[in-house]
Symmetry: none
Amino acid sequence: MREVKTLGLLGTGVIGGGWAARALHFGIDVIAADVKPEMQEWIRGAVANAEPALARLTFAPLPPKGKLTFTTDLDAMAAQADFIQENIPEQLPLKQRILAQVSRHAPADVIIASSTSGLMPTDLQRDMVAPERFCVAHPFNPVYLLPLVEIVGGEKTSAATIEASKRFFTYIGMHALHVRREVPGHLTDRLQEALWREILHMVNDGVATTGELDDSIIYGPGLRWAAMGTNLIYHLAGGESGMRHMLAQFGPCLKWPWTKLEAPELSEQLIDRMVEGTQAQAAGRSIREIERLRDDYLVAIQQVLRNFNIGAGATLKNLETRLYTDASLEHTYDGVKPELDGPLRLVSTEVRPEWIDYNGHMTDSRYMQVFGDAMDAMYRRIGVDEDYRASGHMFYTVESHISYLTEARVNEPIYVTTQMLGLDQKRLHVFHRLLRERDNELVAACEQMHLHVDTHAHKAALIRPEVFSKLEALRATHAALPAPNQAGRHIGMPAH
Amino acid sequence: MREVKTLGLLGTGVIGGGWAARALHFGIDVIAADVKPEMQEWIRGAVANAEPALARLTFAPLPPKGKLTFTTDLDAMAAQADFIQENIPEQLPLKQRILAQVSRHAPADVIIASSTSGLMPTDLQRDMVAPERFCVAHPFNPVYLLPLVEIVGGEKTSAATIEASKRFFTYIGMHALHVRREVPGHLTDRLQEALWREILHMVNDGVATTGELDDSIIYGPGLRWAAMGTNLIYHLAGGESGMRHMLAQFGPCLKWPWTKLEAPELSEQLIDRMVEGTQAQAAGRSIREIERLRDDYLVAIQQVLRNFNIGAGATLKNLETRLYTDASLEHTYDGVKPELDGPLRLVSTEVRPEWIDYNGHMTDSRYMQVFGDAMDAMYRRIGVDEDYRASGHMFYTVESHISYLTEARVNEPIYVTTQMLGLDQKRLHVFHRLLRERDNELVAACEQMHLHVDTHAHKAALIRPEVFSKLEALRATHAALPAPNQAGRHIGMPAH
């Protein structure tokens, strides 16, 4: 199978658009083919829409983005692509016909994969040329963010096709799950569908609304399912004897009317398979060890959801509001407005889990991000806003000097203060301190010089009067403050 | 109903221990009652085990922890508690008998709630004194971290009991979901059970292992379910016309053998209920808006899981390892090994669109990110890798000085070179240049001092010999290079 530099897409709906965004982001060229010419604009929109989220997924260095081209000629696409992903409507005869057609134009070492949610690969590959290079590769919405792709081979699929597909999907950041037996719905959609049909029954029977049923998942099992599945979770529920104990204890429930789905007989063979399977998953880890991991991610996920005020994150946020109110801390900080007699307090935040590097510390670039947030807040305060920028003026950072002094731990509340050290008609010299909320300890300091520029002329320019007067007032106030220890430093080896 | 200062626990298994840990953490005293005296030690262990995770859940100020006492006398507990939570084995006659007994000793304004997974409140309250103060309050493992609690009233339960229960559980950080109709399994366990029985069928039929089935959730739908349920997610899948379109498109699948659970008839009434329900959930937000929220939390959760190297976080981590390796370009660049006669060339990338700020320029923190990438690449080259870190040693950045010299445009290919300025037994002094590929123009420069530390002792330590020798060789080579213009600078106003 060939190296994939160009991905061919057959069909450009939501799934096709998701594939395009993901592949392009990781440096793969994409030829999108759709018989409807209007889909060209559509897929470009879908890619643009996916980009903001994808852009934040990783800060690791990325190769140049791939190029997107569009054609209405499916056969031309097939002749140029190194890997073809089909995403046309979920109708077996249609898929069979188009796959067969495309297979006559794609060289035999080009894999052709189908995004089908539930059709069987043996049926889909029936009329293809070189059917051994066909497999199902079923992704999940949003394809550009969710890593799962189910890989299913048909009767004629070669092992080399499965392996090469897994390699390609891994390359573009996915988790390729090889489904070893063809069944309608593969694995994931069978599980999702059971849950979905139970929901439909409950709504149909008037037991609950869709919102209540969603809540019954997102505040509870859904949080667990973000990183551990039902089987491993139930293994934990069994205590030190794991799944075997769990099945002994809850086995009788399988006869109870807890769902409209009848359970299979809990035979010795089934019990053995469940126990062996979960023991393999535990991989020698004790129940306590897996519990600790579960607890760690449950805490971290709730904290991260708090930033979006959604689900369990909203619950946590409400709890914290109550706790802060109860502790009535509102009046104990900053009894005096800090801008009257001290540095401006411009940013209050906390060290977010995603800011932490492999040392367990806040990444260097994140310090700069927080100092940048402080500078933005300062600009807003002095009236350097959208209108000011639109008028063709702006401050650029010309120099920054950061001193990293102590550690900031994950979730640590922090804040930034900003002190003006100097001002002339074109320059602004500031000093930021990043401090820990709990003990006001200085975590890092950042000295900066900013230059005022005319953005049309691309050169330094006088600060405009309405902003200058505010900066002047601030400088006059801050002139009384002591000079920071970390200001005016240069970097060099100490004398030995 | 009275204010809850003391929670009485009836039964002290995993669920009872979880309740104890949560209540104590948020300042509620707990009297744990169990007829087995050995459970005293057990529950103290369970509380201690829960504490590390609970302690990280929020940094908001907490009241003093509650006090835990233990008794084997259920009636004595009942006479002292302000709220009683029952957690004894899931057998109806046993629960009925104990609940009736305890209700004779607890004043009538003390709520008695059952943690039952699926028994019906009307059955449980049958023999109680003052049955109107009874309800089901069903939590989820780990009770001390998952916010969900299902509140279900029986025929005799008062509205005041439901309201007061919700208030109490909210106080201890939970999301109280009122289940308006009694059904076996309430809401959550019905959905979980449908999925669980489908898993048992698949394992029974030899389709997949427990691990494969767990993977089919955690890399895909499980990530979504952490904050949005199936209904809202399917509403999104329907595009701008939401759930109605989704049901039209995927309705036929309900007849397909995608699960062993038969779906109800998709009547007009059911469709209307599904549409009305999800429209209420959308609460006026557009599909695009909800999609953006979904994308935001999916990104954040994957980043947070990366810290635990689990599920989708492990996938992301592997991807990043590959990206860093590809970007370090150790052997591919320029034919000549650059380290022989000049600064190391460590990173080649391009200015990504997401790095651009409102001025149309690369954001300050992104420069730092690229310089950080260069430093990481240098560390890998000299053997400062996972193993080195695992041995308890690492370099920390102590100071950075960035000079921003010219603009880098979006999509501009750029690269970074790194020159060693100095080295002693604990310190590494380096100078990075960020250059444009097209004209080798210097875009920015970053001088840094790195300190070698013993990460266990939290103090500076000698660079280990195998790494020091490589750095020495590099310093010897770089000693011949001219000192950079931007090195040794401090920030200050020019003389006027």
